[in-house]
Amino acid sequence: MSKKHTYTYFPGCMIPYRLPHFELTMREVLKKLNVELETTPDHSCCPEPTTFTGVDFEAWVTIAARNVAVSEALGNDTVAMCSGCFHTLAVANHMVHEDTELKDRINKRLKKSGLEVTGTHTVKNLLHVLHNDIGIEAIQKQVSNPLKQLKIAPHYGCHLVRPLEATNMDHADNPQWMDEIIRATGAEVAEFEDKMACCGAPIMPGDEQTSLTITSKHLKNIKASGADAIVVVCPTCYTQMETQQGKVEALSETEFNIPVLYLGELLALSMGLTETVTENQRRYHRVKLTELLEKIGGA
């Protein structure tokens, strides 16, 4: 059994309430990897970074820093499953670290609740946890069903990786950690043009046409690589490329039919936890997983 790791899990809003299969599969995978997650009711919406920042930046960074302060009081590193939450907390933490005036302003607001933010907290995403803390070797040990037949396209998404000074990821243009995790499951990594291309989701509220055009370009590039599925960590990217895939097809007059898996689902399939994926596939996957599951010999 690999070394035990305990984190404060920051749940956010989209994963726990809209896409709980993300949380379900990842919790099962993390259990196998001896990782414990603790939650607190004091965490609020991170707040979501794609539109709330433009409504009021000071409010956004204050609420975000408050969430970080709540985590700080609990003592463990924080891990956020959602890329948006991760980005928000990491950026707020970094800004508070760099800007003393901002830190003082925020702590003044937090004083009444007895909270304080220092800018020294460690905010992680799942790739930090899986790749750095747990390690590829330990993951490989749990892979009982190598997915050798699959070619997987990793979609990191913008908010997971950037800005590098706040996220502490490996590379802003060509990150590798998810590629390595995919290989650990036995699958091949699909190479496609514009690895870090945006899914397009952030501008859906304001300009659906441009948003879906951007998504279609990205799906076209991935399709051209011959990938069996796309793997994501972000619930918003998932919604855009999976739930809305039909809309993208209609706009671009192209058929994609490319399944999108959450990273937890991919790992679950490789670790003999297939049921956690199949029991919820009808509800959360509009693009059928049947062909994919047949390929790996799953039910």
Partner: protein, 173 residues
């Protein structure tokens, strides 16, 4: 842009915001525009030009719907030779233009949710039941009184009461 007198209020305000000062590093090379995935499709979306306008304190940009076409993907920022925080500067322009109504309706819905129930979406009983059935823990509700009180000096709640959006239908999720 022709003005008889240059009003620097917008620019001064922006430079004073957290991380606003990176704007001054821009020397208008244009790499951001050739890197931008939106500029590739929509010719009127030109990050370099937006920065130029903001450098010249043109406040009209804050009221332009076009700024909300920014994906915040940071492709521009990553490739900018000066690491100007371009999407962040556009975000500050959005903040400046909020009260003109330049904000998509869905963004207001989310913001109102965040400042009243502490979530970006409405948590319904079926959602809670699903979690229970999946064996996932109850996440409780955040202490909204304290959060709202904490935001008092910023004045966002009262602004959200007054503002009306110019564009963007209902949240389509």
């Amino acid at each position: 842009m022709v003005t008889s007198e240059l009003n620097l209020n917008f620019r001064t305000w922006l430079l004073d915001q957290p991380e606003g000062k990176t704007l001054l590093r821009c020397y208008q090379c244009g790499r951001c525009t050739s890197a931008c995935p939106v500029a590739d499709i929509e010719p009127s979306f030109n990050p370099r030009l937006f920065l130029q306008k903001i450098l010249l304190s043109d406040e009209l940009i804050a009221a332009e719907q076009l700024v909300w076409d920014c994906l915040t993907c940071e492709q521009c920022e990553v490739h900018c030779p000066e690491h100007v925080k371009i999407p962040h500067i556009l975000i500050l322009a959005k903040v400046r233009g909020l009260m003109t109504g330049n904000v998509p309706a869905a963004a207001l819905d989310r913001a109102r949710n965040i400042t009243t129930i502490g979530r970006s979406l409405l948590v319904s009983p079926p959602m809670l039941k699903t979690r229970e059935k999946m064996g996932l823990p109850d996440l409780g509700t955040p202490p909204m009184d304290m959060i709202v009180e904490m935001l008092a000096d910023i004045g966002i709640v009262s602004r959200l009461d007054k503002v009306e959006s110019n564009f963007g239908g209902n949240e389509d999720e």
